[in-house]
Subunit: 259 residues, 2 copies
């Protein structure tokens, strides 16, 4: 990459390089720095922190937007971050932004989300990273009102930095929820997927199964991302990747661990 | 599933249903309860918390082991857990065990690991869950000395239970490291992958890329899983899925969040 005085901003997502949300995000980033897009060539939602180790990856430089260099990648969102850092840039960008995702990444969905896994991978690489999600599915979703949130959070991160190993998970209610009341700093709500399996039969009469589920937020705390977005705010959850249950260490140390 | 007085134990992995490690694990589980195996039909390492939402899934009942019902699944480890709970069992098993993985899942590799993502999915479902990994790659690895660790940890979990939302990440050094000194309760070490991209050209002279990397544990704490396994112990890290960086909330609340 040729050097510039402006910060280099890596843009990725999990909905694929031609999804409307990433176009909005890249447009906004042009005001902040030089923009490089490296994003999946097809939808990679719900890929979590998957990486590709049993297959090779392809990169293809594509026409994307005036003044923006862009590559589509055959891999996952995390693969995109690794290829950007270790192959295209051969160094670390000043900022990584992922999204704007079509659909919510509240609560425990940070675990399943390709959008957020790209941001977590950025944090692992020491790059200040933000995942943005619009809580509206479907290709007709309007991303216009995400712009003010994207600008506010990006300005703050470039100005204040982020703690080591920390990235941000930002969720924005849909236009239909009315004007945004502001941004609230939150914790990840507790919740779980009440799943179901829909079983069908193919023309040869063999069973196949579709996963479907309903997300249940059973956490009424007013400091959660679910509460904030239910009450007209964009939520901002600082995210880290130490999954140790530190509060359980003492208890488990009392077990009899004889072999 | 027909009812039995013995606890129902769900066994899965990410190396695929015919990997040696899952056979060792299922053999050990037969002493503790009725065993159901639902595991991927092909290797699914490094799939993280991926689930399959853009494609359907197939299950196939397979011959596995005397007295053990077993299904191979076309999806990821997390898909296996969801299909087991919501389709095969239509309820929750008493215990979920995942592994024994071929290769380490220390430190931040809990994020990339399909083995551990299956255990985390178990915890999300309220099922006491344990991921076991042998720190040796390759099909020739000897799983014999993992048995005493599997028995000790399983006995403890069935006797003491696990805190809500908590699962266990157990890593076992290879035979070549000498006799095991015991089991140590640890935190997840800090560390990161120093990745590299190896670029090759196909016969048509187009580039393709392989990810390769070296794991760097830059955390010298003696309370970590890396320290324990480096010093002859099996490591046991309690794992939870709240990724909120609670310590950053106060600081980020001081930002100017105006839209």
């Amino acid at each position: 990459m040729k050097k510039s005085d402006r910060p280099l901003i890596l843009v990725t997502n999990d909905d694929g390089i031609f999804a409307p949300g990433i176009i909005t995000l890249a447009e906004e980033m042009k005001a902040f720095g030089d923009v490089l897009v490296v994003a999946p060539d097809k939808p990679q939602s719900a890929m979590g922190h998957a990486i590709t180790i049993h297959n090779f990856l392809r990169l293809r430089e594509v026409e994307f937007m005036e003044g923006v260099r862009a590559f589509s990648c055959t891999g996952t969102p995390v693969d995109c971050v690794k290829l950007a850092v270790y192959h295209i840039i051969k160094g670390r960008p000043a900022l990584l932004v992922s999204g704007v995702n079509h659909g919510s990444n509240l609560s425990i969905n940070v675990l399943y989300s390709g959008t957020m896994s790209a941001a977590v991978e950025g944090a692992l690489e020491g790059v200040p990273s933000i995942g943005f999600s619009l809580m509206e599915y479907g290709i007709e979703a309007s991303f216009e009102h995400t712009r003010s949130v994207v600008r506010s959070v990006t300005t703050n991160v470039l100005k204040n930095g982020l703690g080591k190993g920390c990235c941000l998970n930002v969720n924005i209610p849909p236009v239909s929820a009315g004007p945004l009341k502001g941004i609230r700093v939150c914790r990840q709500a507790l919740g779980h997927w009440e799943d179901a399996v829909e079983t069908r039969r193919d023309p040869a009469n063999h069973e196949y199964h579709w996963l479907k589920g309903m997300f249940i937020a059973n956490d009424k705390g007013e400091d959660t991302d679910v509460w904030a977005t239910d009450h007209g705010y964009a939520s901002l959850v600082p995210v880290q990747f130490d999954m140790t249950a530190h509060h359980e260490v003492g208890n488990i140390n009392t077990w009899d661990h004889a072999l």
